[in-house]
Symmetry: C2
Subunit: 259 residues, 2 copies
């Protein structure tokens, strides 16, 4: 986790801070873990952390900052969560109000920031094992589906489990489960494979978010808990104020992806 000038994660964060990088982060700072960001006022921090504790597959907590402290001391010491992401979303009463490139003028004095693992780390491990990640092959966004499986609620935070889907053969799916099980902080093993109806998904070719991908003969859909879940729960809570990363504009940590 040394922050030498050669650390590409730190370089990217500094480019965000300087305003010279404002675009998406997938594929950048190769080998460094990326994270979802959710920022809530102190009074809602207990229940949001409790929501994550009760729903660890969709909400793997990498780090929670001390109230008011914008530095993620564990995953990227020296970084500043108010400036070091390329783009943010400010939510008011559950709706997007702004998409600024800095939170410097938006950071409540008692803000608590949550960094949550995302799927990039396990996808890198799948690719390294020669397993297919179809949306990457096809140059699309991963397909995501709202399921009829309810998360365990906590205070004002509630909502459905959202899943992502990657098609594989049965043998590949077994291998993927064993690999992903080693990445509990990147959503871990799949939550389901096979019949989409078991999750309440009626048309696998019409995802609720992202793009459809091809499912080839001999393949089944394999479903993972998705990092959109906690964001959906947070917006469901209709807090007067909260902030997140903008989609695809993640926080790049100093954590290596090796698992």
């Amino acid at each position: 986790m040394a922050s030498t000038p050669e650390n590409p994660a730190r370089s990217l964060r500094l480019a965000c801070r300087a305003g010279t990088h404002t675009g998406p982060t997938p594929g950048l700072a190769h080998g460094y873990g990326q994270a979802n960001l959710v920022v809530v006022p102190r009074e809602h921090a207990f229940h949001f952390l409790l929501f994550c504790q009760r729903n660890p597959r969709p909400c793997p907590v990498l780090e929670v900052t001390d109230p008011g402290d914008p530095e993620p001391r564990l995953t990227a010491p020296g970084a500043d969560l108010r400036t070091d992401l390329p783009r943010y979303r400010i939510w008011r009463d559950g709706r997007v109000a702004e998409e600024p490139t800095s939170l410097l003028s938006h950071w409540p004095a008692d803000a608590v920031a949550f960094l949550l693992g995302c799927s990039f780390s396990f996808e890198a491990a799948l690719l390294a094992a020669g397993l297919p990640v179809r949306h990457i092959e096809q140059g699309r966004n991963v397909p995501m589906y709202r399921t009829t499986v309810a998360c365990q609620p906590a205070g004002p935070f509630a909502g459905p489990l959202v899943v992502s889907m990657r098609p594989m053969t049965a043998a590949q799916a077994i291998q993927a489960a064993l690999i992903c099980n080693r990445f509990p902080q990147s959503h871990g093993a799949p939550v389901h494979w096979g019949d989409p109806a078991a999750l309440g998904i009626h048309d696998i070719h019409r995802p609720d978010e992202g793009d459809p991908v091809d499912i080839r003969p001999g393949e089944v859909p394999v479903f993972w808990a998705c990092g959109v879940t906690p964001q959906a729960a947070a917006t469901h809570a209709k807090l007067p104020w909260m902030a997140t990363h903008a989609p695809g504009h993640m926080f790049v940590t100093d954590m290596r992806e090796g698992g």
Copy 2:
């Protein structure tokens, strides 16, 4: 997790509730996971949960109740944490004030209860694999040591990592690490093996708590994060009020120990 009359975990809890069982729980309700209990007022619940999140090896969170709710709906639906343990400790300003057999007249309206995994589950797995658990062989309490390794603090909660020790040969220790890694909610893999001085332990034959055990030729001490750690951190915080289980008088859940 069915609560049939034949469920020995539920039977034991009901005996505690009726006041007919007030003794220790190790060895009872065989096959059902037991848990450490920590109860704090709502205002300290965020920081205690954050302490657990930052120190998952010593503080594996099994369940956190909603503020005021004495029912652990996930790990023992229908149970009542105010009555279903054999004995409690009430702490005031970091010191034991009482050891009642019920919290019914002590439960703050906004109490938040934490159930934390304990070592019994991984010890059962070690024994099932034919590995030695010396303090059980010798009919003693497990030896525990305060280390010079500091936990990651959170708000008022801070303190040293406390470890338990079980002597094994190197080959047994490797096997134990692989087995315990499957039990993250029971402290997981060891944190150290070999030289006690690396943890700041000066005399392995004089534990800070529990009893010394024999270390035989060819064996090394193997150290696991210990559930005394969060209790030490909670008492360090000197809260005006908190409650825990009394030592050895655990909460017996409906969770099977299989891992």
